[in-house]
């Protein structure tokens, strides 16, 4: 081996070395977006993904997180809990700093155990109460759980409507059952009788008997806790059978998609809404415009959850001061951020030690095919 080659080797080794060191600090932060992009949850998952990707784009355009870009890899769970579990594992194997998703509670409840075992923070779009009740320190919500959302309606049933008897129509899956169980409990506490308790299948198309039963149940008001499309079909059947009771629900009863599908049948429906691009606040409306400009359709609450998830990661990591999973979760627990310092969260928001979130919310009513805010519920 002559001298020349030795020098050459040394030079190339040095070049390798120098090219390695700075790139280490600028390495992108890997994120695994494990979302329902196909199967029954495709609509919710796609919206969540699009909201998150919009936020990631904004974050990267404005200098990233602590100077590092976000590199988001998408994983499609096909709305299958076991696949979602395997994919969270895969995302972690591939070096994800944090996980975004899943939206469906039945998936989150399974895959959150994997992230917990690996010590990887996970920001979910799920709302089932039991997710933050497992004592898992790595899970954070991007919208509050049903156990917080549904009780906000109790006062509406009791004081505003003066209901003595109510009926409840709910979808018989993880999501619907979570809301249903909380609602029944709340009604018991408020001394309101549940006159009809009617579950239906996810994807159900025929609500004739459900509506007929509610109509005859003697209830003063109806709590409707279904997914968007089923809500639209329910509203149309209720309109057809000219049901006299007021229909009250959560965000899934009055969303833009529901109004589009149900047409005039949606008028008069009332809902407690945590996240809506129609909220009378500048932050929400700016987000709504940005989303529409990017994807050519209106944002729903799942899109907002995705958007908030991405920004939670940014603000939490920046508050922690470095890209460190343990520091991130310790910072997030008990963190409160205002909309001024963290505009990406859209509203003043706090997280407790279980990863549950609290923020203000709205009571909305559909009037002439438009959602109108009729009241505000303070953070609880």
């Amino acid at each position: 081996m002559n001298r020349r080659t030795i020098i050459g080797l040394a030079a190339s080794a040095m070049m390798l070395g120098t090219s390695c060191i700075p790139s280490f600090a600028e390495d992108p932060i890997k994120i695994g977006a494990v979302v329902e992009l196909s199967g029954g949850g495709a609509v919710a998952g796609t919206n969540y993904r699009d909201g998150a990707m919009l936020a990631a784009k904004e974050i990267n355009a404005s200098g990233g997180v602590l100077g590092r870009q976000l590199e988001v890899t998408q994983y499609d769970t096909a709305t299958d809990p076991q696949t979602s579990r395997a994919l969270v594992q895969k995302a972690i194997d591939e070096g994800a700093y944090a996980i975004w998703g899943t939206v469906y509670s039945s998936s989150t409840i399974v895959n959150m155990m994997v992230a917990q075992q690996a010590g990887v923070p996970q920001i979910t779009g799920s709302e089932a109460p039991n997710i933050t009740a497992q004592g898992n320190p790595y899970i954070f919500r991007s919208s509050y759980g049903a156990q917080k959302g549904v009780p906000a309606l109790t006062a509406y049933f009791k004081d505003t409507l003066g209901a003595k008897k109510v009926a409840v129509a709910w979808v018989n899956n993880e999501f619907g059952k979570g809301g249903h169980d909380v609602f029944i409990e709340e009604m018991k506490k408020a001394g309101i009788e549940v006159a009809a308790d009617i579950p239906s299948e996810a994807g159900a198309a025929d609500f004739a008997s459900d509506v007929a039963r509610i109509k005859d149940s003697g209830a003063d008001a109806v709590f409707v806790y279904l997914h968007e499309e089923e809500s639209a079909r329910f509203l149309r059947e209720a309109h057809k059978q000219a049901i006299p009771q007021p229909l009250v629900g959560e965000v899934t009863l009055t969303g833009q998609k529901v109004i589009e599908l149900a047409g005039e049948a949606a008028n008069g429906a009332v809902a407690h809404v945590g996240l809506t691009a129609d909220a009378p606040l500048e932050t929400f409306q700016n987000f709504g415009k940005a989303f529409e400009a990017e994807y050519g359709r209106t944002a729903d609450h799942n899109a907002i959850k995705g958007y908030v998830s991405a920004y939670m990661l940014k603000y939490g990591t920046e508050k922690a001061g470095e890209v460190d999973r343990e520091k991130f979760i310790n910072t997030m627990h008990g963190l409160c951020l205002t909309a001024e310092e963290a505009p990406g969260l859209l509203l003043d928001t706090c997280w407790d030690d279980a990863g549950e979130m609290s923020r203000a919310s709205f009571i909305m009513e559909v009037k002439d095919g438009k959602q109108v805010v009729t009241g505000t519920v303070p953070a609880n």
Partner: protein, 294 residues
């Protein structure tokens, strides 16, 4: 009483659409021994052809005609020529392989609609106004009545066609005994093709009727396919009126059970009915024991 009437009428209206899907299923089954697991998707897809045609600027009526023609070509002609025929030529037309192919076809149709049109439910224009009538306290819409009238009309026309025309009788002969029909000079292959075309047309019709109620969605076929299948077996798979009766019976029973017995287990009733019928009257409620077994 009002409630009973309401549930009965609603059940008949939905049941009549199940019947349309079940009739086509029965025809193909008889003629080609093909259990079509994609039948539900055959009902889901035509509505999207209508939406595509309307997005291209066509009026609703023209879009429906185009969608019907496209469906008959793709889901009738092409299905028969490109899939069923080659498999039957290899001696596997009656086998499991064909069943698997129809299952894969169901996934292909569903996923294609989702990828190329959209995963979200789409509003779909109704054939009739949303006007409603009040019959003894029960509220029934013009659309509901239309569904019933169309289903009954189709059964009547089909029965007349099969019994009174030369082609119809040749089709029946093919279904009952293809060997003998062939000897008698019937072009059995052509007759089988006709049943596939009729099936696609019936599925399109069911699609145009049900989609305004169900909303246009890629996953609509999953439930409809299963119900069409159960209705066909329960009613009697070798009789058109059997499929009609099966569809109506399931529509009514489903709604009655959900109203008066149990909402949790409403989906179990058609399944239990299916099991009971198979165990005690395998030829179906209105079926005759003659003719070929499955």
């Amino acid at each position: 009483m009002e409630q009973f009437l309401q549930v009965l009428l609603s059940g008949l209206a939905t049941g009549s659409i199940y019947a349309l899907a079940a009739i086509g299923f029965t025809l193909v089954w008889q003629a080609a021994q093909t259990v079509n697991f994609a039948q539900g998707e055959f009902v889901m897809v035509p509505a999207f052809f209508v939406l595509v045609a309307m997005n291209m600027g066509m009026p609703f009526w023209l879009a429906m005609i185009i969608a019907m023609l496209v469906s008959v070509f793709l889901l009738g002609y092409l299905f028969k020529r490109a899939i069923v025929e080659p498999m039957q030529r290899q001696g596997h037309g009656n086998s499991l392989s064909l069943i698997i192919v129809t299952m894969a076809l169901a996934i292909l149709l569903k996923e294609s609609v989702k990828e190329f049109y959209g995963a979200e439910a789409q509003p779909y224009p109704a054939l009739m106004s949303s006007e409603t009538w009040n019959i003894g306290g029960a509220i029934i819409s013009v659309t509901d009545v239309l569904h019933l009238v169309i289903s009954l009309g189709v059964v009547l026309l089909l029965t007349l066609f099969l019994d009174r025309t030369r082609t119809g009788r040749a089709m029946q002969a093919t279904a009952q005994n293809p060997g003998v029909a062939e000897i008698l000079g019937v072009d059995t292959n052509r007759m089988i093709l006709y049943t596939f075309l009729i099936n696609a047309a019936l599925a399109s019709l069911a699609s145009f009727l049900i989609t305004p109620v169900y909303l246009a969605k890629f996953s609509n076929g999953e439930y409809l396919g299963l119900i069409a299948f159960i209705a066909a077996i329960v009613g009697g798979f070798n009789q058109i009126r059997g499929a009609l009766a099966g569809g109506l019976l399931i529509g009514v029973l489903d709604n009655m059970v959900a109203t008066y017995l149990t909402a949790e287990y409403r989906a179990a009733i058609p399944l239990l009915l299916l099991i009971v019928v198979i165990l005690f009257k395998p030829e179906g409620l209105l079926g005759t024991s003659e003719g070929r077994s499955v």
